[in-house]
Symmetry: C4
Subunit: 348 residues, 4 copies
């Protein structure tokens, strides 16, 4: 059967991935309310489409932190891509480059940053960092990424501890023995405790700043208060995210939080959003509400699970086509014409 | 089993039409949210019925652009009626004339305008136009329609490109070889690309104006801003429509959009609405909110699928009876007594 | 199995009545939205119960138009009780008298007013009237009722024509040949058309006034405008009713309409409500929102269907016990302590 | 299968308890609307989590009426623990002490207060009182509790009569013959009527005050008016409660009522809440809205039903871990940092 929309890829992945892997990718914290709200919240936003606007050419390109991408959808950082496809993050990197968009490689990759770089030279990539108790290991990672040409450092702020994902507890989820969190080999040995450092505060942004010239993007912001703090601490970008609903359950849907973050930031940093993007029109809604770009997490994994690099390209191509069509049907010929006038929150 | 309401016709059509045809008629864009919202939105409108008003005679006649019709329900333009019934649009034209109402014939008819005219001479008909890249072909069509006695030109504004209807993609929907979009034969040959012109703008209203003396009705308007533009460009009528939810998914339900369009138009043009009409009381709601008349799309196809001309007449007769009864039970003896005081948006 | 609440009686009736009878009693107009909303609307009203108020004695008696009843629940007028139980309205009258409450006998009874009177002498009864085209027949009925000791005349205002109840159409519902609308025998012969007069207006209240000294109660009012008119035309009582959702579908739930009617009436007439009462706490809500008394329709028929007079008494006794308990748990020792402070409309 | 969250314990209890017992524990009044709303209302509250706040140490301890407890979750008073586990309330007392939290022992315990005290000497316990018609029996109970070292007297205000729990009526629920309401043996003999006194009023608080030096906590308050009265009558604590939805159905969810009670009390007494707590994040929400501590009812019974003392400890430990994690993920390092800024009522 042809896969015509992202839900088709989801159904494929659910059917063909081992249950323990599917559960891990699909997991949300506790009751999975926030995971599901990320999607439902998009449904409560209603377009106000405009007619007769000459959409014979629709330009969907945009820029993020100065780099042009073919359309405003990048790959969010998710871990353990080898669970989805043998080549793991190497395939992800190749697909992102082929589609000319940005890939945020996770600290918890099953390939090294070096392998990723070699797999798709010249691709636009950012590196996602968890700060570890072993600060030297984190410093080394940041500097490796910069040396390899990564063009942004994404600090994840919402994981001082791992959220409670019931199925993972029930399944006893762990990485199979033949896979490794390769970027951290060695680092783990000096730190027997949970490697993540829950004492990280805003001051650590200054420490990261001192380590690298890469722009710093903070991921996991959900309130105007934290958006203001992020700007004051000099970040270049904010990813409005609730970690796909995998951390604190029953926080806001990201598209709802986006509105207050954009308002607080007032253009002083770029604002992105992830979570719940399933159609090209979701991308249009996010941009209408002020996002510069969106990032997809689980849909990228479904693409990998389907056919590796090729499958992920198909996912991206579908989103691209749907986004272009949504723009045309809403009366926008370029991303600069997208604005808040295009949407309203529905009565439901 | 007797068919006592429009849903019964829907069930019949779903059961007896080939799946690919049913899917094509039923299709909505993407998740079909707007298609379904068109119906649900009527449920959120609540009557305020008035009692003891002498409804021994209930006059349901009205006028649209100067022509009297037997009740405020016409036939919306939909394509490919031969998929529903062998005689196709000829049956539609006959049923509309028999019931003394208006039929908007689609560019994508499977009968020619000439065949339609011959089938039901003297019937009130408007012609629905898609503007093609081949402007000469469009001009010719408009002038053929006028010459044949069509009394209105309906420009569809919401289809610069076709919406993404997943089932049609999955089914590989296309017209069977023995059917033709007859009005366009010849025109296609000079234009190998998709024949519709996505560069159409408001200025093309002036061009159409220069081609014909028929009143111009614009179909597909959903916002006050576009309603204002339509009036300024001199249209005589506006059909509030989202193409049955087949174009941009997650736009407003038409009955919700009607309110703001009516408000913006302030009587400077007639306003109609299509989408989601399933009962006579829906017609009453639309009129209470300012529509001069409603148009039905899918229910007309179900009627055709049931018994051709006769089936469509039955559908119209049911709506007529239900509309008359709803008027009486709400305390209205003529359409001029219908007003906004009759309805309120419910808390739900 | 013991029947412990009204829903249990409903389930019994659904199981044991002939389908065509069940369908007739259960029927709502069109999509049955209003029928169901009558019940759902009660769910949106939330108590604000008060504690420690000495409820060792709870007095649930009240008065309607000067007559004391044992608790504020009467029997609404419904037709054809012989469909539920062989003795028909005679059983209803006996049960109402036994429980010391008011029974509104319908024009469409399957027993004569005389039979009803003889069955339960001394019971508090009102007579429900449909005004017929044959005004003499209506006049005669009113005067028969008064002569038999009926103490109120209830004019039904919401049935100029019968609502469209799809199942009744499908079933071809009609009274079985061995049952008769006995009150109207003779009257029908002089009037071959539908016997009800859709030309009735507010002025006919004056005509009724001239025929009888019984207080006049108007049934079927749903708006403040009509409530004001009713008061101005001198009625003594108003029953807020949508005919159990059997007439105009998608009007307001009666408990919602009650609020605006009570506000408009400002104590100048007594206000009652029917529709959707299924628990003693529903009665408490209706009284808190200003109703003097409620009337039950379908639940009375379920009681009859279960065990005739005895079954209806059981239904009334359950409501009585539940109402008394709800009062106690909300902190009210008598109906005079029930007020709007006891409820709020919930956020849902 | 591992039990990883409270719902797992619920499923276990439902599976292994006798139906009549399960029904009794699960029962809500009437339609069980309030019972279920207690849970749903938590879903309508949305976190505003804060990031990068140094949560390397999270201190979850708090104090209630001057006693430190290990985390803000105590055991609400529920009856008949021997139905869940042979050792009954003795197990409950041991588990509460082991987890260093407060246990409110019910008048309707199946163990005596003396047995409870001996089972877990030194544990923090409050005694829940129903005032009986036999006031001497109540006085004696209060004084026994104080002598045994109970540190609080909880007066239940919402049970002048028992709510109507349909399943209990259907099942003919009663305590099996080998179990006894041991605290009341003797007292029952002098009072053949229902032993509870529905004439209790606010003045009885003064009477209780005269009997004991224990602080008085009133349980069952749902409105600002009653909260004000409670403070004026000198109580030290208020438990916002609707008796788990077992008394008046369709009153407010407790978490919704908490907001107005806290506002009315303005710090003049401690405010607690029970009903609907199923996750650690629910505890965090209750504290954010002003509760000093929450109490769990049914989940404690599920824990007992699973493995007695050990099972209840597991339930408490899960809540403790979840609460600590929720605090960390919301950015709170101690309960003093929890405040209203952490939550908002969602649009749904």
């Amino acid at each position: 059967m042809a896969l015509v929309c992202l839900s088709d890829f989801e159904a494929f992945a659910k059917k063909y991935l081992p249950k323990i892997t599917w559960d891990y990718f699909a997991a949300g914290a506790d009751d999975c309310t926030t995971r599901d709200e990320n999607i439902l919240a998009y449904k409560r936003i209603c377009f106000r489409p405009r007619m007769l606007r000459n959409v014979s050419v629709v330009d969907i390109r945009t820029n993020i932190l100065g780099s042009e991408i073919s359309f405003p959808v990048g790959i969010a950082p998710t871990g353990f891509h080898q669970l989805a496809w043998p080549d793991g993050e190497k395939s992800t990197a190749r697909a992102a480059r082929a589609m000319n968009t940005c890939y945020i490689a996770s600290t918890y990759s099953t390939c090294t940053l070096e392998e990723i770089s070699v797999a798709a030279p010249g691709g636009l990539r950012w590196f996602q960092l968890y700060i570890h108790r072993n600060r030297a290991a984190s410093q080394q990672l940041v500097q490796r990424a910069e040396a390899l040409g990564f063009q942004g450092l994404v600090l994840t702020a919402d994981l001082p501890y791992t959220g409670k994902r019931r199925d993972d507890v029930r399944n006893g989820f762990r990485l199979p023995p033949h896979m490794k969190v390769k970027n951290l080999e060695g680092a783990f040995e000096v730190c027997k405790m949970s490697p993540l450092d829950p004492s990280v505060t805003w001051n650590d942004i200054y420490w990261l700043r001192s380590l690298t010239r890469m722009p710093i993007i903070i991921k996991g912001i959900l309130t105007r208060e934290d958006a203001e703090l992020a700007v004051r601490h000099g970040v270049q970008g904010i990813i409005v995210s609730n970690h796909g609903g995998r951390q604190l359950d029953e926080g806001p849907a990201t598209i709802d939080a986006l509105v207050e973050v954009v308002e607080a930031v007032r253009g002083r940093a770029e604002v992105y959003v992830d979570g719940g993007i399933r159609k090209g029109s979701d991308v249009l809604k996010a941009l209408a509400l002020g996002a510069k770009c969106v990032f997809i997490g689980r849909p990228a994994l479904w693409g990998l699970a389907y056919k590796g690099e090729e499958g992920l390209q198909e996912v991206l191509r579908i989103l691209q086509d749907e986004f272009r069509l949504a723009m045309a049907l809403a009366g926008c010929a370029s991303v600069s014409e997208i604005g808040q006038h295009l949407v309203q929150f529905s009565k439901l």
